[in-house]
Symmetry: C3
Subunit: 228 residues, 3 copies
Amino acid sequence: MRRHEFRYDPGLCCDSSIMFDSILQYLDWFGICIFALSGTLVASRKRMDVVGFAFLGCVTGIGGGTVRDVLLGSLPVFWVKQPAYVITCLLVSCTAFFLVHHVRSRLRLLLWCDAVGLALFSVTGAATGVASGAGPTIAIVMGVATATFGGVIRDMLGGEIPIILRREIYVTAALLGAATFATFLALGASRDAALVAGFLAAFALRAAAIVLGLSLPVFSGTGATNDE
Amino acid sequence: MRRHEFRYDPGLCCDSSIMFDSILQYLDWFGICIFALSGTLVASRKRMDVVGFAFLGCVTGIGGGTVRDVLLGSLPVFWVKQPAYVITCLLVSCTAFFLVHHVRSRLRLLLWCDAVGLALFSVTGAATGVASGAGPTIAIVMGVATATFGGVIRDMLGGEIPIILRREIYVTAALLGAATFATFLALGASRDAALVAGFLAAFALRAAAIVLGLSLPVFSGTGATNDE
Amino acid sequence: MRRHEFRYDPGLCCDSSIMFDSILQYLDWFGICIFALSGTLVASRKRMDVVGFAFLGCVTGIGGGTVRDVLLGSLPVFWVKQPAYVITCLLVSCTAFFLVHHVRSRLRLLLWCDAVGLALFSVTGAATGVASGAGPTIAIVMGVATATFGGVIRDMLGGEIPIILRREIYVTAALLGAATFATFLALGASRDAALVAGFLAAFALRAAAIVLGLSLPVFSGTGATNDE
């Protein structure tokens, strides 16, 4: 939507034909909701109030895309142009505040929401980079940045150990998704096919990492503890 | 001031008639000073040197407004256009370095400075959002972001537990201030009346939270410790 | 380079005559490499995989300049205009992944890389500020911000205690470098002479701080532990 609609719209977006005109918008919108949910799950672990849920939900849902827009100079950022994104995050957050205690294992749900959001944003971030005129290198970097920084900000503000420091494959999955998207585009595939292929690649790898504890070979020297 | 003065001014602002032409500038300027002071109080807790005081003082004083300007695309950020803000933060920080050891309870002073700054920035942030052409939703979000991110950056750089994670009402007070401002404006009140009303609402709520330990009902499920 | 080349170049920069047309570009480029290396050293302490090395290497190498460009409104940020910077960080990071285990004391190497990068970015950041039309105050602030924020982001994402919180002189060295550069310029020296003088001043002070444990007098009151 923010590719087709550069006019500054200070009110709510009501033109759903513009908002959902392609699979890119669907994926982006779904990624924002699922990352917002992951933010509320961190809020639930810290026993925050409903405003804390809304704060962490919004920051996580729109954080990755905000970093991307700032780096690309696409300002004001997307949710200032389209406040519907913020409203959506608020609705997700408030709903989660009242319903999420029914979930048995919230840490597990957090991991899976984060995985879906990571895979979605790795391709939508790369697609936004391409739409802004960037080449493949920068498009892939934008995919990785959009996918990872929402979670980074969530973990920092929520006082959690950053998910990027965990042993299992994480940033690599975002990289695979964005690179798959860029490769499909370069090979002449349609954008929609490239989006789906990249998402599936990223999600499959991250899911395997969660379920099987997959990790890449780590640095072969000694770690921090026995370092000087 | 940055609403009336878009010309890039790389030197010092000396035209005090422009700088203080309204209550908005006074409030904004006072908020920056009081947040800078809160930054130096964190620096004092970490026993930093005078440059550390200046660094944390500046980052805290101008951090919230910097985030707001970046999100709105109002670049370069306000203090690049008007270095007087930076100079003011430096003066506050250096003064604090030499005088703050006279204060008996610096943690208490930190809480109250933060409370005044939070209330001030919640309304000046929202007013800046309105001045940039944003609707009420985004104006309120800008008020909350301006009010909270200075403290967030201060606590992160200073190695403190983020104040937004505390149990007592915090983000809610910023939200109340910004929403009160927006409501007064929508009801036809003058901007100055809306500023004062919003400030009083935010400060009263945060002060009550500090004094009485007020908090909203928190998430009803279990917290992080006994989660899976 | 980004001062002489405002055209948006979405591909790789291949015109090395533009990229290395002055000592400023050399210093900036070297600073990015050495900060990228410092990022990989943190990654090695956390025993990350090769993608983690690349992530922390890139974020640290280009982080300070990214903050500077955003504050100045010079968007998109420099490495989006010139992806060669990102590629360089990736090459440094991957090389470090395979070679850095030969280094005996990686913590010591980290400190020295950080010191060289700090000194380099304090002058190149200030020079970029001057080139953008800012006065001496803002130029010095940009020097300090460019020099310190790469390390700040590295330590936050890497879960290290921020280097700016250490007792020895750190931010002060960046301040000295940027101020020396600005003073030399104001006294009529050539930019290249000012760059070299500022770099030497900053590096000498930081090196002395590391070797001799130099620190400025710290705040004279009590610290956080026995505060209320």
